[in-house]
């Protein structure tokens, strides 16, 4: 490490100091889905800004901190710019500096490692999927503290990174680097394939960068804050490299894009993270910018699809609206109705925790019944774990909006 001092974000812009902007108005409490589902969580106001001020001045733990799912509904509700959920995650990281992690959290935080291992073995994905079914049947997940009611997401036969090698792309001067993230790479590579198709039709060549690693979101929410920081440093270095080449980085998982664009700088407070964030786009944000410039290819074929759109919390927290809805509405034959039913309850790996499963499903109830009411052909959602929750709670089909858009070209 160089001995030059790391440039920090100015204190007046630093998320960690936003606790002092809290007026205790309770807007976050009205919006918190976990508070609605359980009386055990003291809520964002007391656990986030109020307690974090205590925490940073003395040793003091808040038992109910563990209930926060980092869905960020509180951040969106706050009229005063308090980074409520980030304050919670910083406290969680602090807690686990002096407390042991459970095996379950070890597993949930490191999906990337598991995925790499599985896909490095011959027939690894098939064996792992069978193994997970057997494990579930034998109740082994429960012993680990995982939710026995759920299937673990199955591994795709081939990762996106290996499929990508076989995609023949038209070369172009216009390029983007795709940040697939763990879930698209290991579990739903079809999203990545659709992304490449859409970008190609719009004149872009899609690059991959093997040096990217997991964005760190699963680590932040399980309290592996130092490890998440290592991931942030590695990814930020690559994002800045691409920024220098004039190549934007595009993610199609909203939790990844939120982490790269906003949470790194909130959590770790370094100026380079802010600089890197400026070169990262969520996929539909990127397409929306093309549309605004009149550069989006709108030569759409008709696609017959009645869609319900569950807008992920981590997309709403990016503040660019819901461009996938307006872009897809321009495709002949497509109708898009917003589910408008709040958080799905999954929130990354939260719903996989055995002791949080009931809360997760209770939070999801509104969405599940809305999806059943609307009886669409498919639910669309930009977040992979939300899609798992939707399938688990409703048996409805759920895909990424880019998979529908790809059909229109």
């Amino acid at each position: 490490m160089s001995d030059t001092k790391i440039k920090q974000i100015a204190p007046e812009e630093a998320a960690v100091f936003t606790a002092d902007h809290c007026l205790s108005c309770t807007s976050c409490m009205s919006s918190c889905p976990v508070m609605e589902a359980t009386k055990e969580y003291r809520g964002p106001k007391l656990v986030g800004p109020a307690h974090s001020r205590m925490h940073f001045s003395q040793e003091d733990e808040e038992d109910s901190l563990d209930f926060c799912s980092n869905c960020k509904s509180c951040d969106r509700a706050c009229p005063s710019g308090v980074a409520v959920s980030t304050l919670n995650m910083l406290q969680r990281g602090e807690y686990y500096k002096t407390h042991a992690h459970s095996q379950r959290d070890e597993m949930l935080a490191h999906g990337e490692k598991m995925g790499k291992l599985v896909h490095s073995l011959p027939l690894g994905a098939t064996c792992a999927n069978i193994g997970m079914r057997i494990g579930k049947a034998l109740g082994i997940f429960g012993l680990f503290g995982l939710a026995v009611e759920r299937d673990m997401p199955s591994y795709a036969a081939s990762t996106f990174k290996s499929l990508y090698k076989n995609i023949s792309q038209k070369k172009s001067d216009k390029k983007v680097v795709f940040f697939p993230g763990c879930f698209i790479n290991d579990n739903e590579p079809s999203v990545g394939e659709a992304m490449v198709k859409v970008m190609q039709v719009n004149g872009y060549e899609v690059l991959l960068d093997d040096k990217f690693c997991c964005c760190g979101s699963p680590m932040v929410v399980t309290g592996y804050i130092d490890e998440a920081k290592e991931h942030a440093d590695r990814n930020v270095e690559r994002i800045l490299y691409w920024k220098n080449q004039g190549v934007p980085v595009v993610a199609a998982c909203t939790s990844c894009s939120l982490m790269l664009k906003k949470e790194y700088e909130e959590l770790f407070n370094e100026a380079k993270m802010k600089q890197a964030a400026a070169n990262v786009y969520d996929l539909f944000e990127f397409l929306d910018i093309l549309a605004d410039k009149g550069e989006l290819n709108t030569n759409f074929q008709s696609v017959s699809a009645k869609l319900t759109y569950h807008v992920p919390c981590h997309l709403k927290a990016q503040g660019f609206g819901v461009p996938a809805a307006s872009i897809l509405r321009d495709v002949p034959g497509v109708t898009v109705e917003l589910a408008d039913a709040g958080c799905c309850g999954m929130s990354g790996n939260y719903g996989f925790k055995g002791d949080k499963y009931d809360i997760s499903m209770k939070i999801g109830e509104k969405l599940f019944s809305r999806i059943k009411e609307q009886a669409a052909d498919s639910v669309i959602c930009d977040c992979g774990t939300c899609r798992l929750q939707i399938r688990h709670g409703t048996q409805a089909k759920a895909c990424h909006p880019v998979e529908i858009l790809a059909k229109a070209y």
Partner: protein, 415 residues
């Protein structure tokens, strides 16, 4: 670049109302909001004018408005638009299945959590305290574990009201079974009463006491879904009356109204952009063509023909005063009126019957609600100012907050 007919900034009562009125005219409307809006902190009853400038009770808001000073926002809005906004609101709430009652010529007494009666113009039936006068017995229902709702204080204060002095009082406690975790709020209990089990538990407690001539006074716990819970409860309690009080936030009735307004706006095809902090306007001379917002990692601009500013006052960040006597409107930098002189700025007796000088701070407008400078010159041709962004009134002192919000939003939406 995509262009909308109207952009509304802010999602409190004024912003949501302006958005609905605009959308009802067939316009394409985008509402940009940073934070969830103030309705969760707002009683959700519409005070039009409770007290005059001498703090005397106003029996008829319609009369009272006509005696206000010239720089009061109501004088700019005009009586006709105010009356139309009241009709609009009554019709909207009726159509949306959560009807409000009241009119511009009288006041409804709404009981508060400390047992005073506050005058308001429009309220849903569950907050209409006039039933208390007609009853012979008042049963105050407290909730186990719920802070800031004390039966004996409520009784003491209700007894100070001449018409309620000689009633019989009884206090009973409802055990919602929600205790044991954190402190509960009225919102927790209201969500429980949305369920059949919750409602049945409350009916079981109240039914034995529910005789003719009895009024129950409860905290704001009767469900989150409009008047559904209140209606079911009343149907099961015979002729007894059931009245809620206003309470500390989170405000259940404010949230009921918020749901109604957001629902109505979305039915009209309106779009709400969340977590969207508007930084500045894009002006071409005195015409606004767009606004620049801060999204995660980058700015995003939105373009429209017309803009409605509903970002609130000091509390909501629509107005700020970083340096004394230099108030700012935080997006466009519009001129802000204030009462000069430190000695006139505040009244140290917070709960006295005297107004606060600082409360008059805000934007002055022409009769079309467009911002004006000190000489009365319009500074933006297509930006309209509504709600607490407006200057020249002390909503706390005169009880006119939601009334100004509703009437100004209605007028601006129709401009």
């Amino acid at each position: 670049m995509a262009k909308t007919d109207t952009i509304v900034i802010g999602s409190g009562l004024a912003g949501l109302t302006a958005a609905i009125v605009s959308a009802q005219k067939g316009q394409n409307v985008k509402l940009l909001t940073y934070g969830s809006g103030t309705l969760s902190l707002n009683s959700g009853v519409i005070d039009v004018l409770g007290y005059d400038q001498q703090h005397k009770y106003v029996a008829s808001p319609r009369q009272g408005i006509q005696n206000l000073p010239d720089n009061h926002p109501y004088r700019k809005i005009g009586l006709q638009a105010i009356a139309d906004s009241v009709s609009f609101f009554l019709k909207l709430t009726e159509e949306q299945g959560f009807p409000y009652g009241g009119d511009l010529d009288s006041q409804l007494p709404v009981p508060t959590a400390v047992g005073t009666l506050k005058p308001t113009c429009l309220a849903p039936e569950s907050l209409n305290g006039s039933h208390l006068v007609d009853s012979h017995k008042i049963v105050i229902v407290t909730v186990k574990g719920l802070k800031d709702f004390y039966g004996n204080i409520i009784e003491d204060n209700l007894r100070k009201v001449a018409a309620l002095k000689d009633k019989t009082y009884e206090l009973i406690e409802f055990d919602s079974g929600l205790t044991g975790g954190r402190d509960i709020t009225t919102l927790d209990v209201a969500r429980y009463l949305d369920t059949d089990a919750g409602l049945a538990a409350l009916v079981a407690l109240l039914k034995p006491v529910a005789q003719n001539g009895v009024s129950f006074v409860l905290p704001q716990i009767l469900g989150t879904k409009g008047d559904t819970c209140h209606k079911s409860l009343k149907a099961q309690l015979g002729s007894a009356q059931v009245v809620e009080t206003t309470c500390l936030p989170p405000s259940v009735n404010g949230l009921r109204l918020q749901n109604l307004l957001k629902g109505a706006f979305k039915q009209l095809g309106g779009e709400i952009v969340e977590d969207c902090r508007v930084l500045r306007g894009i002006m071409e001379g005195a015409k606004c063509v767009g606004v620049v917002t801060q999204a995660a990692a980058r700015k995003k601009s939105y373009y429209a023909t017309k803009f409605i500013l509903a970002t609130g006052g000091f509390y909501s960040g629509g107005l700020a005063m970083r340096e004394f006597e230099k108030p700012q409107e935080t997006i466009f930098g519009f001129p802000v009126y204030f009462v000069p002189g430190e000695e006139n700025w505040s009244n140290a007796e917070l709960f006295s019957d005297k107004p606060q000088g600082f409360a008059l701070t805000g934007i002055m407008t022409d009769e079309n609600l467009r911002p004006v400078d000190g000489s009365g010159q319009v500074v933006a041709d297509n930006v309209y100012i509504v709600g607490r962004n407006l200057g020249g009134y002390d909503f706390c002192f005169e009880h006119s907050g939601n009334g100004v919000a509703l009437a100004s939003a209605y007028k601006a939406g129709n401009m």
